[in-house]
Protein backbone atom coordinates (compact mmCIF):
# COMPACT_ATOMS: atom_id res chain seq x y z
CA UNK A 1 0.00 0.00 0.00
CA UNK A 2 1.29 3.49 -0.72
CA UNK A 3 1.73 5.88 2.14
CA UNK A 4 -1.00 8.16 0.77
CA UNK A 5 -3.91 6.43 2.55
CA UNK A 6 -1.84 6.60 5.72
CA UNK A 7 -1.43 10.37 5.30
CA UNK A 8 -5.17 10.76 4.75
CA UNK A 9 -5.94 8.61 7.77
CA UNK A 10 -3.52 10.60 9.92
CA UNK A 11 -5.16 13.84 8.78
CA UNK A 12 -8.54 12.33 9.61
CA UNK A 13 -7.55 11.17 13.10
CA UNK A 14 -5.58 14.31 13.95
CA UNK A 15 -8.38 16.62 12.87
CA UNK A 16 -6.34 18.22 10.09
CA UNK A 17 -9.02 17.03 7.66
CA UNK A 18 -12.14 19.23 7.59
CA UNK A 19 -15.49 17.77 8.59
CA UNK A 20 -16.99 17.58 5.10
CA UNK A 21 -14.02 15.66 3.75
CA UNK A 22 -13.92 13.53 6.91
CA UNK A 23 -17.52 12.48 6.40
CA UNK A 24 -16.71 11.30 2.88
CA UNK A 25 -13.50 9.67 4.08
CA UNK A 26 -15.27 7.65 6.77
CA UNK A 27 -17.24 5.56 4.29
CA UNK A 28 -14.03 4.53 2.53
CA UNK A 29 -12.30 3.99 5.89
CA UNK A 30 -14.87 1.42 7.01
CA UNK A 31 -15.09 -0.25 3.61
CA UNK A 32 -11.33 -0.67 3.45
CA UNK A 33 -11.32 -2.07 6.99
CA UNK A 34 -13.83 -4.75 5.95
CA UNK A 35 -12.07 -5.53 2.68
CA UNK A 36 -8.42 -5.30 3.63
CA UNK A 37 -8.50 -6.33 7.29
CA UNK A 38 -5.01 -6.31 8.74
CA UNK A 39 -3.61 -4.85 5.50
CA UNK A 40 -5.61 -1.63 5.84
CA UNK A 41 -4.00 1.67 6.77
CA UNK A 42 -6.29 1.83 9.81
CA UNK A 43 -5.05 -1.54 11.03
CA UNK A 44 -1.43 -0.43 10.62
CA UNK A 45 -1.94 2.86 12.43
CA UNK A 46 -3.85 1.17 15.25
CA UNK A 47 -1.11 -1.42 15.63
CA UNK A 48 1.53 1.30 15.60
CA UNK A 49 -0.28 3.39 18.20
CA UNK A 50 -0.66 0.48 20.60
CA UNK A 51 2.97 -0.53 20.07
CA UNK A 52 4.18 3.03 20.70
CA UNK A 53 2.17 3.28 23.92
CA UNK A 54 3.63 -0.05 25.04
CA UNK A 55 7.20 1.05 24.28
CA UNK A 56 6.72 4.38 26.06
CA UNK A 57 5.39 2.60 29.14
CA UNK A 58 8.51 0.43 29.19
CA UNK A 59 10.84 3.42 28.83
CA UNK A 60 12.33 2.57 25.45
CA UNK A 61 10.48 5.03 23.21
CA UNK A 62 12.90 7.85 23.91
CA UNK A 63 16.13 5.94 23.19
CA UNK A 64 18.51 8.27 25.08
CA UNK A 65 18.34 9.79 28.55
CA UNK A 66 20.09 12.15 30.90
CA UNK A 67 21.62 10.47 33.94
CA UNK A 68 18.84 11.83 36.18
CA UNK A 69 16.18 10.48 33.82
CA UNK A 70 17.95 7.12 33.66
CA UNK A 71 18.12 6.93 37.43
CA UNK A 72 14.43 7.79 37.68
CA UNK A 73 13.63 5.05 35.17
CA UNK A 74 15.66 2.49 37.13
CA UNK A 75 13.99 3.54 40.37
CA UNK A 76 10.43 3.44 39.02
CA UNK A 77 10.40 0.70 36.40
CA UNK A 78 9.09 -2.75 37.28
CA UNK A 79 11.36 -4.11 34.57
CA UNK A 80 14.85 -5.54 35.11
CA UNK A 81 17.39 -3.11 33.69
CA UNK A 82 20.99 -4.06 33.06
CA UNK A 83 23.34 -1.07 33.26
CA UNK A 84 26.31 -1.49 30.97
CA UNK A 85 29.20 0.91 31.45
CA UNK A 86 30.97 1.11 28.11
CA UNK A 87 34.40 1.74 29.50
CA UNK A 88 36.67 -1.27 29.82
CA UNK A 89 36.67 -5.06 29.09
CA UNK A 90 35.60 -7.84 29.34
CA UNK A 91 33.47 -9.63 26.80
CA UNK A 92 30.41 -9.79 24.62
CA UNK A 93 29.71 -13.35 25.73
CA UNK A 94 29.28 -12.22 29.31
CA UNK A 95 27.10 -9.34 28.21
CA UNK A 96 24.84 -11.65 26.29
CA UNK A 97 24.60 -14.02 29.22
CA UNK A 98 23.60 -11.17 31.52
CA UNK A 99 21.14 -9.75 28.99
CA UNK A 100 19.24 -13.03 28.90
CA UNK A 101 17.92 -12.15 32.33
CA UNK A 102 17.06 -8.48 31.81
CA UNK A 103 14.19 -6.67 30.08
CA UNK A 104 16.12 -3.51 29.21
CA UNK A 105 19.74 -2.55 28.70
CA UNK A 106 21.08 0.88 29.58
CA UNK A 107 24.40 1.62 27.89
CA UNK A 108 26.45 4.46 29.32
CA UNK A 109 29.04 5.97 26.98
CA UNK A 110 31.56 8.34 28.62
CA UNK A 111 32.63 11.10 26.20
CA UNK A 112 33.83 14.69 26.46
CA UNK A 113 30.83 16.78 25.40
CA UNK A 114 32.28 20.21 26.12
CA UNK A 115 31.45 22.61 23.31
CA UNK A 116 29.48 20.01 21.39
CA UNK A 117 26.13 21.18 20.00
CA UNK A 118 24.71 18.01 18.49
CA UNK A 119 25.54 14.32 18.82
CA UNK A 120 24.78 11.41 16.53
CA UNK A 121 25.22 7.79 17.50
CA UNK A 122 26.52 5.54 14.76
CA UNK A 123 25.80 1.86 15.29
CA UNK A 124 27.56 -0.81 13.30
CA UNK A 125 29.98 -3.66 13.25
CA UNK A 126 33.76 -3.78 13.22
CA UNK A 127 33.73 -4.15 9.42
CA UNK A 128 30.89 -1.64 8.88
CA UNK A 129 30.93 0.80 11.80
CA UNK A 130 28.09 2.99 10.50
CA UNK A 131 25.10 0.83 9.58
CA UNK A 132 22.48 2.85 11.45
CA UNK A 133 22.61 6.49 12.58
CA UNK A 134 20.61 7.69 15.56
CA UNK A 135 20.52 11.40 14.74
CA UNK A 136 20.79 14.28 17.21
CA UNK A 137 20.38 12.23 20.37
CA UNK A 138 19.79 13.63 23.85
CA UNK A 139 22.99 13.72 25.93
CA UNK A 140 23.96 14.54 29.50
CA UNK A 141 26.41 17.42 29.20
CA UNK A 142 26.90 17.76 32.96
CA UNK A 143 27.89 14.13 33.29
CA UNK A 144 29.68 13.92 29.92
CA UNK A 145 27.71 10.80 29.06
CA UNK A 146 25.42 9.47 26.42
CA UNK A 147 22.94 7.03 27.93
CA UNK A 148 21.24 4.71 25.47
CA UNK A 149 18.31 2.66 26.73
CA UNK A 150 17.10 -0.24 24.64
CA UNK A 151 15.02 -3.35 24.86
CA UNK A 152 17.05 -6.28 26.14
CA UNK A 153 15.82 -8.22 23.14
CA UNK A 154 17.18 -5.59 20.76
CA UNK A 155 20.53 -5.60 22.56
CA UNK A 156 20.70 -9.39 22.48
CA UNK A 157 19.89 -9.56 18.79
CA UNK A 158 22.24 -6.69 17.90
CA UNK A 159 25.19 -7.97 19.90
CA UNK A 160 25.24 -11.28 18.06
CA UNK A 161 27.90 -9.64 15.88
CA UNK A 162 31.01 -7.66 16.84
CA UNK A 163 29.07 -4.49 17.58
CA UNK A 164 30.52 -0.99 17.57
CA UNK A 165 28.96 2.25 18.80
CA UNK A 166 30.51 5.53 17.71
CA UNK A 167 29.61 8.81 19.39
CA UNK A 168 29.96 11.64 16.85
CA UNK A 169 29.90 15.40 17.40
CA UNK A 170 28.01 17.15 14.60
CA UNK A 171 29.14 20.72 13.90
CA UNK A 172 27.56 21.94 10.67
CA UNK A 173 28.98 19.74 7.93
CA UNK A 174 31.77 18.49 10.17
CA UNK A 175 31.58 15.21 12.04
CA UNK A 176 34.08 14.52 14.79
CA UNK A 177 34.40 11.18 16.55
CA UNK A 178 34.14 11.63 20.32
CA UNK A 179 34.43 7.97 21.18
CA UNK A 180 34.17 4.53 19.62
CA UNK A 181 33.07 1.64 21.80
CA UNK A 182 33.67 -1.93 20.73
CA UNK A 183 31.51 -4.30 22.67
CA UNK A 184 34.52 -6.33 23.56
CA UNK A 185 35.16 -3.22 25.69
CA UNK A 186 31.89 -3.47 27.57
CA UNK A 187 32.13 -3.64 31.33
CA UNK A 188 29.08 -4.91 33.14
CA UNK A 189 27.61 -2.50 35.68
Amino acid sequence: MSTEPLDALDDYVSGAMDDDEAERFEAALFDSAVQEGAASAAAWLDRFRRSAVDLAARGTFDITYTLAEAQALIASSPLDILVIDAGAPPTTRETLERLEHHDLALFSFPVDLSGVAHVDLELGTVDHPCVVVLPDVKVDRDENRVLLCCEGELARRSLQQPFVTTVVAVEGQNRRVLGRFHHSDVRLG
Binding site: D7, F25, V132, Q161
Partner: protein, 194 residues
Protein backbone atom coordinates in the same frame (compact mmCIF):
# COMPACT_ATOMS: atom_id res chain seq x y z
CA UNK B 1 -6.54 18.53 0.88
CA UNK B 2 -5.63 14.86 0.65
CA UNK B 3 -6.74 11.85 -1.29
CA UNK B 4 -9.25 9.43 0.20
CA UNK B 5 -8.44 5.73 0.38
CA UNK B 6 -8.85 3.80 -2.87
CA UNK B 7 -12.41 3.07 -3.99
CA UNK B 8 -14.11 0.01 -2.61
CA UNK B 9 -13.51 -3.30 -4.30
CA UNK B 10 -15.89 -6.24 -4.01
CA UNK B 11 -15.89 -7.75 -0.56
CA UNK B 12 -14.43 -11.23 -0.44
CA UNK B 13 -16.55 -14.32 0.08
CA UNK B 14 -14.68 -14.77 3.34
CA UNK B 15 -16.44 -11.81 4.93
CA UNK B 16 -19.80 -13.07 3.69
CA UNK B 17 -19.08 -16.46 5.24
CA UNK B 18 -17.96 -14.88 8.49
CA UNK B 19 -21.19 -12.88 8.66
CA UNK B 20 -23.30 -15.98 8.17
CA UNK B 21 -21.37 -17.89 10.82
CA UNK B 22 -21.48 -14.99 13.26
CA UNK B 23 -25.26 -14.86 12.90
CA UNK B 24 -25.29 -18.51 13.95
CA UNK B 25 -23.30 -17.64 17.06
CA UNK B 26 -19.84 -18.67 15.94
CA UNK B 27 -17.47 -16.79 18.28
CA UNK B 28 -14.40 -17.11 16.07
CA UNK B 29 -16.22 -15.50 13.15
CA UNK B 30 -17.45 -12.67 15.36
CA UNK B 31 -13.92 -12.08 16.55
CA UNK B 32 -12.56 -12.07 12.99
CA UNK B 33 -15.13 -9.51 11.88
CA UNK B 34 -14.52 -7.30 14.90
CA UNK B 35 -10.78 -7.50 14.35
CA UNK B 36 -11.24 -6.15 10.83
CA UNK B 37 -13.42 -3.27 11.92
CA UNK B 38 -11.79 -2.33 15.23
CA UNK B 39 -9.00 -0.14 13.75
CA UNK B 40 -11.53 1.90 11.76
CA UNK B 41 -13.74 2.23 14.83
CA UNK B 42 -10.73 3.38 16.83
CA UNK B 43 -9.78 5.93 14.16
CA UNK B 44 -13.37 7.22 14.24
CA UNK B 45 -13.19 7.55 18.03
CA UNK B 46 -9.76 9.19 18.05
CA UNK B 47 -10.92 11.91 15.66
CA UNK B 48 -13.51 12.92 18.25
CA UNK B 49 -12.12 11.96 21.64
CA UNK B 50 -8.88 11.31 23.46
CA UNK B 51 -7.71 8.84 26.10
CA UNK B 52 -10.19 6.73 28.06
CA UNK B 53 -13.20 8.38 26.41
CA UNK B 54 -12.01 7.20 23.00
CA UNK B 55 -11.51 3.68 24.36
CA UNK B 56 -14.99 3.78 25.86
CA UNK B 57 -16.56 4.85 22.57
CA UNK B 58 -14.72 2.00 20.80
CA UNK B 59 -16.02 -0.50 23.30
CA UNK B 60 -19.57 0.81 23.08
CA UNK B 61 -19.57 0.64 19.30
CA UNK B 62 -18.08 -2.85 19.41
CA UNK B 63 -20.80 -4.03 21.77
CA UNK B 64 -23.57 -2.66 19.58
CA UNK B 65 -21.94 -4.19 16.53
CA UNK B 66 -21.58 -7.50 18.30
CA UNK B 67 -25.25 -7.46 19.15
CA UNK B 68 -26.13 -6.74 15.50
CA UNK B 69 -23.89 -9.50 14.19
CA UNK B 70 -25.42 -12.04 16.53
CA UNK B 71 -28.90 -10.98 15.61
CA UNK B 72 -28.03 -11.41 11.93
CA UNK B 73 -28.92 -7.79 11.16
CA UNK B 74 -26.10 -7.52 8.63
CA UNK B 75 -26.45 -10.14 5.94
CA UNK B 76 -24.71 -8.41 3.04
CA UNK B 77 -20.93 -8.19 3.40
CA UNK B 78 -20.73 -5.18 1.10
CA UNK B 79 -22.92 -3.25 3.57
CA UNK B 80 -20.94 -4.13 6.67
CA UNK B 81 -18.60 -1.12 6.56
CA UNK B 82 -21.48 1.32 6.15
CA UNK B 83 -23.42 -0.46 8.88
CA UNK B 84 -20.51 -0.20 11.33
CA UNK B 85 -20.03 3.46 10.42
CA UNK B 86 -23.71 4.07 11.07
CA UNK B 87 -23.35 2.55 14.52
CA UNK B 88 -20.33 4.75 15.19
CA UNK B 89 -22.21 7.89 14.22
CA UNK B 90 -25.26 6.94 16.25
CA UNK B 91 -23.26 6.07 19.34
CA UNK B 92 -21.14 9.20 19.07
CA UNK B 93 -24.25 11.38 18.71
CA UNK B 94 -25.96 9.74 21.59
CA UNK B 95 -23.19 9.61 24.16
CA UNK B 96 -25.31 10.86 27.05
CA UNK B 97 -28.13 8.37 26.69
CA UNK B 98 -25.48 5.80 25.90
CA UNK B 99 -24.46 5.51 29.53
CA UNK B 100 -27.63 3.59 30.39
CA UNK B 101 -27.51 1.54 27.23
CA UNK B 102 -23.85 0.79 27.83
CA UNK B 103 -24.58 -0.63 31.26
CA UNK B 104 -27.33 -2.80 29.83
CA UNK B 105 -25.12 -4.03 27.00
CA UNK B 106 -22.25 -4.81 29.31
CA UNK B 107 -24.63 -6.70 31.54
CA UNK B 108 -25.95 -8.66 28.62
CA UNK B 109 -22.77 -9.26 26.62
CA UNK B 110 -19.81 -7.72 28.37
CA UNK B 111 -19.17 -10.33 31.02
CA UNK B 112 -19.19 -13.17 28.57
CA UNK B 113 -17.45 -11.32 25.80
CA UNK B 114 -15.04 -9.02 27.51
CA UNK B 115 -12.19 -10.68 25.70
CA UNK B 116 -13.65 -10.12 22.24
CA UNK B 117 -14.73 -6.55 22.99
CA UNK B 118 -11.25 -5.60 24.17
CA UNK B 119 -9.36 -7.95 21.89
CA UNK B 120 -6.66 -6.38 19.85
CA UNK B 121 -5.41 -4.23 22.69
CA UNK B 122 -2.77 -6.73 23.67
CA UNK B 123 -2.07 -8.66 20.52
CA UNK B 124 -0.71 -7.76 17.11
CA UNK B 125 1.89 -5.30 18.29
CA UNK B 126 5.04 -4.70 16.32
CA UNK B 127 8.20 -6.47 17.42
CA UNK B 128 9.47 -4.18 20.20
CA UNK B 129 13.08 -4.51 19.12
CA UNK B 130 12.31 -3.59 15.51
CA UNK B 131 10.04 -0.71 16.52
CA UNK B 132 12.65 0.71 18.86
CA UNK B 133 15.30 0.37 16.17
CA UNK B 134 13.04 2.24 13.71
CA UNK B 135 12.08 4.96 16.20
CA UNK B 136 15.76 5.51 16.93
CA UNK B 137 16.34 6.42 13.31
CA UNK B 138 13.89 9.33 13.46
CA UNK B 139 15.20 12.75 14.38
CA UNK B 140 14.65 13.76 17.99
CA UNK B 141 12.03 16.28 16.85
CA UNK B 142 10.13 13.75 14.74
CA UNK B 143 10.18 11.26 17.60
CA UNK B 144 8.86 13.93 19.95
CA UNK B 145 6.02 14.73 17.54
CA UNK B 146 5.13 11.05 17.20
CA UNK B 147 5.25 10.59 20.97
CA UNK B 148 2.95 13.56 21.57
CA UNK B 149 0.56 12.43 18.84
CA UNK B 150 0.30 8.69 19.43
CA UNK B 151 1.35 8.11 23.02
CA UNK B 152 -0.05 11.22 24.70
CA UNK B 153 -2.86 11.67 22.16
CA UNK B 154 -2.20 15.41 21.84
CA UNK B 155 -3.80 17.50 19.11
CA UNK B 156 -1.67 19.07 16.38
CA UNK B 157 -2.27 22.45 18.00
CA UNK B 158 -1.00 21.28 21.37
CA UNK B 159 2.01 19.61 19.77
CA UNK B 160 2.80 22.78 17.83
CA UNK B 161 2.72 24.85 21.01
CA UNK B 162 4.76 22.32 23.02
CA UNK B 163 7.50 22.01 20.41
CA UNK B 164 7.40 25.57 19.08
CA UNK B 165 6.35 24.53 15.58
CA UNK B 166 3.52 25.53 13.27
CA UNK B 167 0.56 23.17 12.99
CA UNK B 168 1.36 22.71 9.31
CA UNK B 169 4.88 21.71 10.21
CA UNK B 170 3.59 19.20 12.77
CA UNK B 171 1.37 17.65 10.10
CA UNK B 172 4.26 17.32 7.65
CA UNK B 173 6.56 15.82 10.32
CA UNK B 174 3.85 13.30 11.29
CA UNK B 175 3.36 12.21 7.68
CA UNK B 176 7.06 11.87 6.97
CA UNK B 177 7.75 10.03 10.21
CA UNK B 178 4.87 7.60 9.70
CA UNK B 179 6.01 6.88 6.15
CA UNK B 180 9.57 6.30 7.36
CA UNK B 181 8.35 4.05 10.17
CA UNK B 182 6.06 2.06 7.91
CA UNK B 183 8.90 1.35 5.50
CA UNK B 184 11.30 0.53 8.32
CA UNK B 185 8.85 -1.75 10.12
CA UNK B 186 8.36 -3.84 7.00
CA UNK B 187 12.04 -4.79 7.04
CA UNK B 188 13.75 -7.25 9.35
CA UNK B 189 16.02 -5.90 12.03
CA UNK B 190 19.04 -4.52 10.19
CA UNK B 191 21.39 -6.61 12.33
CA UNK B 192 19.65 -9.77 11.22
CA UNK B 193 19.77 -9.00 7.50
CA UNK B 194 22.12 -11.42 5.71
Amino acid sequence: MVAAPPPATPVSDDVQTLLARAARGDAASEAALLARLRPAIRAFALRRLRGPEADELCQDVTLVLLEALRAGRVSDASALGAYALGICRTVARDRARQVERRAALWERYGQRDEASVDAGDDDARFDRAVLEDCLGQLTQRARAVIRHAFVAGSSNGDIARALNLSEGNVRVIRHRALAQLRTCLERPLVWETP
